[in-house]
């Protein structure tokens, strides 16, 4: 196990420890491929990575067109849950899948803490 993967494992462990988080994936923003993941069964990990990257890219086009620059936080709210995407360092994205009642405010605080410490 490399130092990088140990860091990702720690990060993912902390993220999935947040109440209401179903899983998290660190992915390559450009390729949409999985770098590290911690996902409960029933969800296709490569689907989370590919779709979160595509979602983030398309949203970025929109926010840039609106003069806002690339987003620091993207939340897709759906009937049965949420998908969150945050840009990380070195061209990565952290994608988080959460339950419907996920406390977004708490998630943001925790993610900020985690990302600052990384």
């Amino acid at each position: 196990m490399t130092a990088v993967s140990i860091n990702f494992d720690r990060l993912l462990g902390r993220v999935t420890g947040i109440r209401g988080v179903v899983g998290a994936v660190v992915l390559d923003a450009e390729d949409g491929l999985v770098i590290a993941e911690s996902i409960l069964g029933g969800i296709r990990v490569n689907a989370v990575a590919a779709l979160a990257a595509s979602m983030y890219r398309r949203v970025s086009h929109t926010t840039k067109a609106a003069g806002h620059g690339p987003p620091d936080f993207v939340q897709l709210q759906a009937e049965n849950g949420v998908l969150i995407a945050l840009p990380g360092s070195c061209g990565t994205i952290l994608a988080v899948i959460g339950e419907l009642d996920l406390n977004i405010g708490l998630v943001k605080i925790e993610l900020n803490k985690i990302l600052v410490r990384q």
């Binding site: 450009e30 390729d31 595509s54 890219r57």
Partner: protein, 157 residues
């Protein structure tokens, strides 16, 4: 209109779904010997023939190399250039092995292409008919079949 041209009709819908979902600009489904089954996006027959031959060749040589180093499994190659990427993979079906080649641009990604490649394999596996019994191909039959197939792939049939 899906834009997909298929020699084998069972391949049309799965390839059309793959192209639509993955955002591939060009796609080619061939046998491992380079015989074209269906194509999307190619406008010249010479490009289809060249891509089919090269794709099958790359898959065959990569497969041999992986065997030499003791690895087993299907060949799956992704090459990303500054503007476009190429995805090339072989997969098994009840009808035998096939090769998919996809060229994608900035609107897609290796992740999306690979994700929907998995769905393509599932769809083809469930939609392709049982294998035909092998028959001897005569030279004149070969040429006629080749011309028929090219006509089908470019909508002249």
């Amino acid at each position: 209109m899906t834009g997909v041209r298929a020699v084998e009709q069972w391949a049309e819908a799965p390839l059309a779904n793959f192209v639509r979902e993955s955002g591939a600009r060009l796609s080619l489904l061939t046998t491992t010997s380079g015989q074209v089954v269906a194509q999307y996006g190619f406008t010249r027959s010479i490009d289809v023939m060249a891509a089919a031959a090269l794709g099958a060749g790359v898959v065959a040589s990569t497969s041999l190399m992986t065997q030499m180093i003791g690895e087993v499994g299907y060949v799956k190659i992704n090459n990303r250039g500054p503007g476009q990427g190429i995805f090339l993979a072989e997969f098994d079906t009840p009808r035998g092995k096939y090769v998919i080649l996809a060229v994608y641009g900035s609107g897609s990604s290796a992740g999306l292409v690979q994700l929907f490649f998995e769905d393509l394999v599932e769809e083809i596996t469930s939609s392709c008919p049982a294998p035909e019994t092998r028959r001897v191909i005569l030279a004149e039959d070969f040429e006629r079949e080749l011309n028929d197939n090219l006509a089908a792939l470019f909508g002249r049939k």
